[in-house]
């Protein structure tokens, strides 16, 4: 029955000039046919299905790209056995994950062990529901979108803990603790950088933020936040925090293979490990999506005359760039030590984010100044702060004896 509805509304869509509209109109036509109460349920089910399909595929592609990318970085071809140029590798992985035996340690806390992957993935899924993929293509337009995103984002720490603890394994618990400490530490700079954007835009809803980034300076430079001094600094802080948040590359200490086997994932195998893996990638996609909406103008085209391209393509293009950056970082940067990681978060990122808010405030109140002067002053401030922090950061890099605070 749904297939029929799709087909009938197709010509509608073609008529519209804008492909975004096309998708929305499609959904509405499907839902339109349904009796009263069920309409809402079905429409939300449709959005959910679309999201899962899109991101599931993206996940598979991402694993492939990652493995191929890493290979290329490490001057090796990467998986090319399954399908042409290894394209079908993800399918193979998926089948492997499914049929592999799911080992659960005897002393493990079965319920918590089982729930952990779920609690990790579910919130990330919820996070997708609020990101505007295209013009009008936002699953739920909450006016407290950012708050919702972080609220559900916070649940991931709990899941990591449950995973680490339920296995009743010292190393997994230690890994979980490290992960939680890292995620909490980096959540604050993350939130503070988003606060700068929210402060400048004046609204928590992501749609508003993207809308605020429409238009172009002098017709050429898009009004993306990144091109504002505070925007750039905010983007840098946000990206570092985002990487740490999703336990990727330089900050992938918790499941650093060389140290604590797989961190809180050691007790998992089979399908649960796959779900964890999926959750991680989804987390990466969500956080990049947020970055895009906040700093890179969401689904806005970089150039005015490129407006005709459907907005969601721009969104997913930027997403791919982010994905590439992640993989690139993973291939090149060495892993950070735990105390460096913590110090960096608290002593470098957090002050930078705070100063960034300060600069944003100045930026806001110097609206009357001529463009370049205003840009220059703020940029100067940020550079000064960055240099000063760098200096203190360099100073503290001498290798002081490691002090254990809590593992007494």
């Amino acid at each position: 029955m749904t297939f029929m509805a799709m087909i009938t509304c197709l010509p509608h869509m073609l008529l519209l000039a804008n492909p975004d509209e096309w998708l929305v109109r499609l959904k509405q036509t499907i839902v339109h046919w349904l009796p009263g109460p069920w309409q809402f349920v079905i429409s939300s089910l449709i959005t959910i299905a679309v999201l899962i399909a899109v991101f599931g595929a993206l996940f598979a592609v991402a694993t492939l790209i990652e493995r191929k990318g890493l290979g290329r970085i490490q001057n090796r071809p990467g998986p090319n056995r399954v399908g042409p140029y290894g394209v079908l590798q993800p399918m193979a992985d998926a089948v492997k994950m499914l049929i592999k035996e799911d080992v659960v340690p005897r002393a493990a806390d079965r319920v918590v062990h089982f729930l952990a992957p779920l609690v990790l993935v579910a919130p990330v899924m919820l996070a997708f529901s609020v990101i505007p993929y295209g013009q009008g293509l936002v699953p739920i337009n909450l006016d407290a979108g950012v708050l919702f995103f972080f609220a559900v984002g916070a649940a991931s720490e709990l899941a990591v803990f449950m995973a680490g603890w339920s296995g009743h394994n010292k190393y997994s618990l230690l890994g979980a603790m490290r992960a939680i400490a890292q995620m909490i530490s980096y959540e604050i700079p993350l939130v503070l950088s988003t606060v700068t954007v929210v402060m400048m835009v004046g609204s928590l809803s992501l749609v508003q933020i993207v809308a605020a980034q429409g238009g172009y300076w002098w017709g050429v430079i898009p009004r993306w936040n990144i091109f504002a001094p505070w925007g750039l600094a905010g983007f840098v802080v946000f990206m570092i925090a985002a990487i740490a948040e999703s336990n990727r590359s330089p900050f992938d200490l918790p499941e650093g293979e060389s140290e604590i086997i797989a961190g809180f994932l050691t007790e998992y195998s089979g399908f649960k490990y796959a779900v964890f893996f999926m959750g991680e990638y989804f987390g990466m996609f969500a956080i990049s999506g947020l970055a895009i909406t906040l700093f890179l103008g969401g689904w806005h085209a970089p150039l005015p005359y490129l407006g005709w391209v459907p907005s969601f393509l721009w969104f997913f293009g930027k997403l791919f760039i982010f994905l590439f950056v992640f993989i690139w970082l993973r291939g090149t940067l060495p892993r950070l030590r735990m105390d460096q990681l913590m110090n960096y978060a608290w002593k470098c990122l957090l002050p930078l984010a705070l100063i960034n808010i300060g600069v944003a405030v100045i930026w806001r109140f110097t609206a009357g100044w001529p463009g370049p002067l205003r840009w220059l002053v703020c940029a100067l401030l940020i550079v000064l702060a960055f240099v000063w922090l760098e200096k203190t950061w360099m100073k503290s890099r001498e290798l002081k004896p490691r002090t254990y605070h809590y593992a007494s």
């Binding site: 806390d109 708050l147 919702f148 972080f150 609220a151 709990l158």
Partner: protein
């Protein structure tokens, strides 16, 4: 709407009971998170969107981890409690709680609140921000100060004596 309320209410009550009765502390925390999350859902149901998300962010995000850390640090997690779960005079405690709730419920039922459901008041984030920054700016500052103090206090209290310097 009715169904959602009842589901959430049931979830809350069951979560609460479970949190109180379950033997393992970690499970208790989890059940607590379930109740709090469903409470947040109830808030959303009641239209207080910002509060709901704040609730989730604060409780499910931070407090849960806090309690878990506390559990780990006080070595309660490894072995299941061999001894009695509740204090010897648990019956008294339950009795008093029962009495209190009984009184509350009785007073609620006896109260003359009109059953009507008025139009949900607007609680957009902008209004809340506006209110926070104008009328409630003093409490906001005070809470900010309080939280900093609480953070520093908690760190100092929890820090082992010899390090306290």
């Amino acid at each position: 709407m009715q169904a959602a309320f009842f589901i959430i209410a049931a979830l809350i009550v069951i979560g609460g009971l479970a949190a109180m009765l379950v033997r393992k502390l970690v499970h208790a925390v989890l059940w607590l998170m379930v109740t709090l999350a469903s409470l947040a859902a109830l808030f959303l149901l009641l239209g207080a969107q910002f509060v709901g998300f704040a609730q989730i962010l604060v409780y499910v995000g931070a407090v849960a981890i806090l309690i878990v850390f506390a559990i780990l640090l006080t070595r309660n997690s490894e072995w299941a409690k061999a001894g009695r779960l509740a204090s010897p005079s648990w019956l008294v405690g339950v009795g008093i709680a029962g009495l209190a709730t009984g009184c509350l419920i009785a007073s609620i039922l006896a109260s003359s609140i009109p059953p009507g459901v008025p139009v949900p008041p607007a609680a957009s984030v902008a209004d809340i921000g506006q209110k926070l920054m104008t009328e409630y700016v003093l409490p906001l500052e005070a809470v900010g100060l309080l939280l900093t103090a609480a953070m520093i206090g908690a760190v100092i209290i929890a820090m082992p004596e010899d390090k306290r310097g």
